[in-house]
């Protein structure tokens, strides 16, 4: 599969078989040292960031971007989707939807129907929009607090 940007890939049934579609990617499926990745061109992370804080994941991504290494993060954690600009959703073995992350996340009903949740700040913003309390999606606590309690 030809992908030209960094991507989060989420599937309803996390499955190593899916990695076969990305055979030219180097698979990371356990703890790793970032130095060991810097000589790779393409990396796919398989469900490895569960225990890491977002800032730490962002740090890893930035190092890879600085070294022009293309990466995919295959996860079942929708919060991690917000850390890349492109998102692919698989329902079992087939791509259900893909595109810019925020565009894909607008398909709330579709995502929930297949068993995925929205990232918390996206869901909170959408609910607040329903109550006409905000008019946009805010991903940052402080920004949303500032909008709500001006």
């Amino acid at each position: 599969m030809n992908i030209i940007t960094n991507v989060t890939l989420v599937s309803t049934n996390i499955n190593k078989d899916l990695l076969k579609k990305y055979q030219d990617y180097y698979v990371i499926d356990k703890s790793f040292k970032i130095e060991d990745l810097l000589n790779k061109q393409k990396i796919i992370f398989f469900n490895v960031f569960n225990e890491l804080e977002e800032d730490k994941i962002k740090e890893i991504y930035q190092i890879l971007i600085d070294h022009q290494i293309l990466f995919i993060n295959y996860t079942n954690n929708m919060e991690e989707a917000l850390l890349t600009k492109y998102l692919i959703i698989y329902d079992k073995e087939n791509i259900l939807i893909e595109g810019p992350t925020m565009e894909v996340l607008k398909n709330e009903k579709l995502l929930k129907r297949i068993g995925l949740s929205l990232p918390f700040m996206v869901e909170l913003s959408l609910l607040l929009k329903d109550y006409n309390l905000v008019d946009n999606i805010y991903l940052d606590n402080k920004t949303l607090k500032g909008i709500l309690w001006k």
Binding site: I14, M121, Y131, N141
Partner: protein, 185 residues
């Protein structure tokens, strides 16, 4: 307090620790489980899995098979729900574990690094490292807990808001949070 005493008192506890799924390879049909068809249904699988090899299963399916092998135990230990299951499945299995506790008096240990898995399920959270209990709490808003694991977004949002003049109720339910925000803006 040791885990056994905590279990005696609280019956369902959440452990923040690492967990590895270990199931012997072989065919699902060869697992020694009474009424296996019914057990498969309870873990959202069907009879087509009887002829599958354990080593061919996905992480999601392995979790389910691991759980059904434990139905007859007095103590059920499950782990990594957040890593192996999607959101819908997590909510289903939390209800199933509660039922196993309420109706069949099973004691339950849930091991995970994602505190959200413990919401509306466990009565005590225990942090374990190198087999030692480092910390226990029954309060999801106990900031000391987040020295050991990631803070759920709903809690960090409420903490952020409450650091100013606005005071929101400490809730783990997004709909309660919305009502509270609506009342306070």
């Amino acid at each position: 307090m040791e885990i056994n005493s905590l279990l005696k008192e609280y019956e369902i506890i959440g452990l923040i620790s690492s967990y590895e799924l270990k199931i012997k390879d072989g065919y699902v049909k060869d697992l020694s489980i009474k009424d296996i068809s019914k057990a498969l249904k309870m873990v959202l699988l069907d009879d087509s899995y009887l002829d599958k090899k354990i080593s061919d299963l996905t992480l999601n399916e392995l979790f389910k098979i691991d759980l059904l092998t434990k139905f007859n135990n007095d103590l059920i230990v499950v782990g990594n729900l957040s890593k192996y299951l999607n959101y819908k499945d997590i909510e289903y299995f939390k209800k199933l574990l509660l039922k196993l506790n309420n109706s069949y008096h099973k004691k339950i240990v849930v091991i995970d690094n994602d505190i959200k898995v413990f919401f509306n399920l466990v009565k005590m959270i225990v942090v374990i490292k190198d087999k030692k209990v480092l910390y226990t709490t029954n309060d999801f808003f106990d900031n000391n807990l987040y020295k050991y694991t990631k803070c759920p977004k709903i809690i960090s949002f409420i903490n952020e808001v409450n650091s100013s003049k606005v005071i929101l109720n400490k809730t783990i339910d997004i709909y309660e949070l919305i009502k509270d925000i609506y009342r306070s803006v």
